[in-house]
């Protein structure tokens, strides 16, 4: 079996796997207590891990998303070679807790990677995420070489017709998007949709071809995050996305969980103090029918700890 075969088969297996899980999710939603579960959970007032544990319970537990024997990719933001206290990357303790709960739900293997902006080795190490993933028995995977990324077509998009996506995203049964809420010099905010720029190879293409449009376009890709978890414990409110010091941060002590990427971006933007309708990629995503920025009709569970 050569590499191409291996990838193809892996992809088919994972596709059939995901079909089964979506089907089972559908049935459990229709016949189970699925209807009463919230669309979005917002937790406030404690440390990231405590907020996560409470939040994931409220949204139906990790077993609602991860089934026994599945392989999972957890995709945090590991873009920068800065220590955890600078909050330019996702909180490592949170990443660890998420991986642990995936295993508790029966996951066979949990992977973690990012196509970093700064040097990948230093970013993995100094963000504290590599150690956190290893502690949780997860598998840290490199994202630094083009050979990991394979061409996929995305129908229905305006700019991002095809893109090279990390093979693990295709091979594993599901992936969980774990961005950190931050200010961003050019896109104003970087949250869940923007975090998915870290699963593709050529970021420059986005920048060259209408950044906001490409970020939204990618949300039409068939492989969507099963769950989004926004780390808003320490929020970089200026000088983002890299930040220069801890002075850029505000301690918001919040965490948001939702399977709906547009809803969670909308809520996180509000939390940040911005109007999601003013943020290009969010507005475009709504127009593309990926989701609604309007939160008034959504079932939101607010938890204050």
């Amino acid at each position: 079996m050569d590499r191409r075969d291996f990838l193809k088969k892996g992809f088919l297996y994972s596709l059939s796997g995901s079909l089964i899980t979506t089907a089972s999710g559908f049935f459990s939603n229709v016949f189970g207590k699925g209807n009463s579960l919230p669309d979005l959970v917002a937790v406030r007032g404690s440390d990231p891990v405590t907020m996560y544990k409470r939040g994931i319970d409220e949204i139906g537990g990790m077993s609602r998303f991860v089934k026994r024997g599945q392989t999972v990719v957890v995709k945090p933001n590991i873009g920068w070679d800065v220590p955890p206290e600078r909050a330019a990357n996702t909180n490592p303790h949170l990443v660890k807790a998420i991986i642990e709960s995936c295993y508790e739900a029966g996951a066979r293997r949990v992977y973690c990677f990012d196509n970093t902006c700064d040097n990948w080795r230093r970013s993995y190490k100094n963000s504290g995420i590599e150690d956190a993933v290893n502690d949780a028995n997860g598998q840290m995977v490199p994202g630094n070489q083009e050979r990991y990324y394979h061409d996929v077509d995305i129908p229905g998009t305006k700019k991002l017709k095809n893109v090279k996506v990390h093979e693990l995203l295709m091979e594993s049964d599901l992936y969980i998007n774990v961005p950190v809420l931050k200010h961003h010099g050019s896109t104003t905010l970087t949250i869940a949709m923007k975090n998915l720029m870290g699963v593709v190879w050529d970021r420059r293409f986005y920048h060259r071809n209408d950044l906001h449009q490409c970020i939204a376009d990618f949300c039409l890709f068939e492989r969507k995050p099963k769950l989004n978890i926004v780390d808003a414990y320490l929020v970089m409110t200026k000088n983002g996305p890299r930040g220069t010091s801890t002075s850029d941060l505000t301690r918001m002590k919040s965490l948001l969980i939702s399977p709906d990427i547009v809803a969670i971006d909308s809520a996180s933007a509000r939390l940040f103090g911005a109007d999601p309708n003013n943020i290009g990629h969010m507005r475009i995503a709504e127009k593309l029918g990926i989701g609604s920025l309007d939160l008034s009709k959504r079932n939101i569970e607010r938890v204050y700890l």
Binding site: H184, S186, R204, H207, L295
Partner: protein, 525 residues
């Protein structure tokens, strides 16, 4: 002490030194390896001398005194034990010996002592250096050449093996090996390294340590000292049975067993003769001990001096050529305004172009250890005086803000040591923004890749129509090139770093006051 063991000792020491220096060059880094390797690098002749002057008579640059001292006592021990290129030649000699037919394995005494050639090269090399060009050191110094060979051949080989194993393992879901990114080396540099490697390999297979006794300026310098060393390897006349075994193992071809003569200037102190002699006929002889079996003909000294003077004189003739080149290179820079393309960006800690180009021996240790591969060898970018010296290429990558690796390893002091804090305000260049070729202006869409990557906020996005446009605050810029690397425009970047001919100080980042507390309790949705 039984002097027969000296050879074993030499082999062990040389292999240990060789292994550690090689590990550093192929970037196999642990704190232990780094500290041991760095110690051995302090004991390299020309790097040490350059370091001594580059860092204003630093103690860490005193390694050369030790080498000279050892040479004054015992001859060219450096050449056989401490010089990594010497050991590389020994390894090549050992391998080739196994492949050669029996008769050709033997070395024989070479009457031609190459004195004029080697001292001539030494003199010209020093003259070039005095006049400000390290051209010949960069081309001939053994440490520099060992570095070039390591970075051009050994590192890619190790990386290739690592990556091949890695690909196999990854198919089984094992990610314990990390994929390594190859350094990008310009073709002409690879070509020069290849020629150097071939010349050294061919010379050593053909006639042992011929390179060390003809082309190598370090070998020549130490040879000059060794001719008058206090202790010399000498024959015990009574023990000699005329079997010539000693002569046949002499890599330097400096041992004439018939006349029981050793050319001390060429002897690299490999101690092979000690072990080869069945009668233990070799010993270290005090220079001023009795005259009975001192075999060096006395007129030889006068000849040496004469040869040295001849070569000095002939080298003096080269001065006008060198200096005129120097002037040419300077006048090209002095009047014109430097831009990112007119002068290469030198590594942080290298103080200025003049400091860097006059101290760097192009050993490529910084190239080998740079985690982002932004340091790449150049060819004639610095002119003749900076032949093959490395530069920062922001089209390949950018300089990591918190990394000081190159400043820690530089053996010559061309790159002085910087702490993370010092580096954070070291301005090696300044970003120049060209709005007329920026995505934001031309296409009217958001981009900001440059500002996103800027570690100091020297680049900030300011409102522009309904979107954001980059703006540079030069005082905050350190010239790391992150903006230039990230800029997606093709084929030319809309932002580039203009090199600082003399490095400057950037404003420090505002002091960290810690996060603000959030005063709202309810979610705003």
């Amino acid at each position: 002490m039984n002097l027969r063991h000296l050879k074993k000792l030499r082999i062990i020491v040389s292999l240990v030194v060789f292994a550690f220096i090689l590990l550093l060059f192929i970037d196999f880094s642990t704190p232990f390896i780094d500290s041991v390797s760095n110690f051995f690098i302090r004991l390299q002749l020309f790097p040490s001398i350059l370091r001594f002057f580059a860092l204003f008579f630093t103690i860490s640059g005193l390694g050369f005194l030790l080498i000279i001292l050892i040479s004054l006592f015992f001859g060219r021990v450096y050449c056989s034990s401490l010089c990594p290129l010497g050991t590389l030649q020994d390894i090549i000699i050992a391998i080739s010996k196994r492949l050669k037919p029996k008769k050709k394995k033997r070395f024989t005494y070479s009457r031609f002592s190459n004195r004029i050639l080697r001292y001539g090269i030494l003199t010209v090399t020093i003259l070039f250096w005095v006049l400000g060009s390290l051209f010949l050191i960069n081309l001939l110094d053994p440490f520099s050449n060992f570095g070039k060979i390591s970075v051009t051949f050994f590192q890619p080989l190790i990386y290739w093996i690592n990556n091949s194993i890695n690909i196999v393992l990854e198919n089984f879901g094992i990610y314990s090996l990390r994929p390594l990114d190859f350094k990008s080396l310009p073709l002409n540099v690879v070509l020069v390294s290849t020629v150097i490697f071939l010349v050294i390999a061919i010379l050593s297979v053909w006639r042992g340590r011929l390179f060390c006794n003809t082309l190598c300026p370090a070998g020549a310098a130490l040879g000059l000292i060794s001719e008058t060393s206090l202790f010399k390897i000498a024959f015990n006349e009574k023990a000699c049975s005329g079997c010539m075994k000693c002569e046949h193992v002499c890599k330097a071809q400096c041992l004439d067993s018939k006349n029981q003569f050793i050319d001390q200037g060429r002897c690299v102190s490999c101690f092979n003769c000690f072990t080869a002699c069945p009668n233990n006929g070799f010993y270290y002889k005090y220079r001023f001990a009795g005259k009975n079996n001192f075999t060096d003909p006395s007129d030889n000294h006068g000849k040496n001096r004469r040869n040295f003077l001849i070569s000095l004189a002939s080298a003096t003739l080269a001065i006008p050529i060198v200096s005129s080149n120097k002037l040419l290179a300077q006048s090209a820079g002095a009047g014109s305004i430097p831009t990112g393309t007119s002068y290469p960006v030198t590594p942080p800690g290298s103080l200025s172009h003049n400091h860097f180009t006059s101290k760097c021996i192009a050993c490529y240790l910084c190239v080998g250890v740079c985690p982002t591969n932004v340091i790449v060898p150049s060819f004639f970018d610095y002119g003749l005086e900076g032949f093959m010296q490395p530069k920062l290429d922001y089209h390949k990558n950018f300089c990591n803000f918190d990394c000081v690796k190159c400043t820690e390893v530089c053996p010559t002091g061309a790159i002085t040591k910087l702490s993370k804090k010092e580096k954070a305000t070291t301005q090696i260049g300044i970003a120049k923004f060209m709005p007329e070729s920026c995505i934001v202006v031309v296409q009217g869409t958001d981009c900001g890749a440059c500002a996103e990557h800027c570690p100091t906020q020297a680049l900030q996005m300011i409102p522009y129509n309904d979107i954001f446009l980059p703006e540079v605050t030069p005082e905050l810029c350190v010239g790391c090139g992150a903006c230039e690397y990230a800029c997606p425009t093709e084929p030319y970047k809309a932002i580039f770093v203009e090199s600082n001919y003399k490095h400057k100080e950037a404003l420090p980042i505002e002091e960290a006051n810690g996060p603000r507390e959030h005063d709202e309790d309810e979610f705003p949705f």
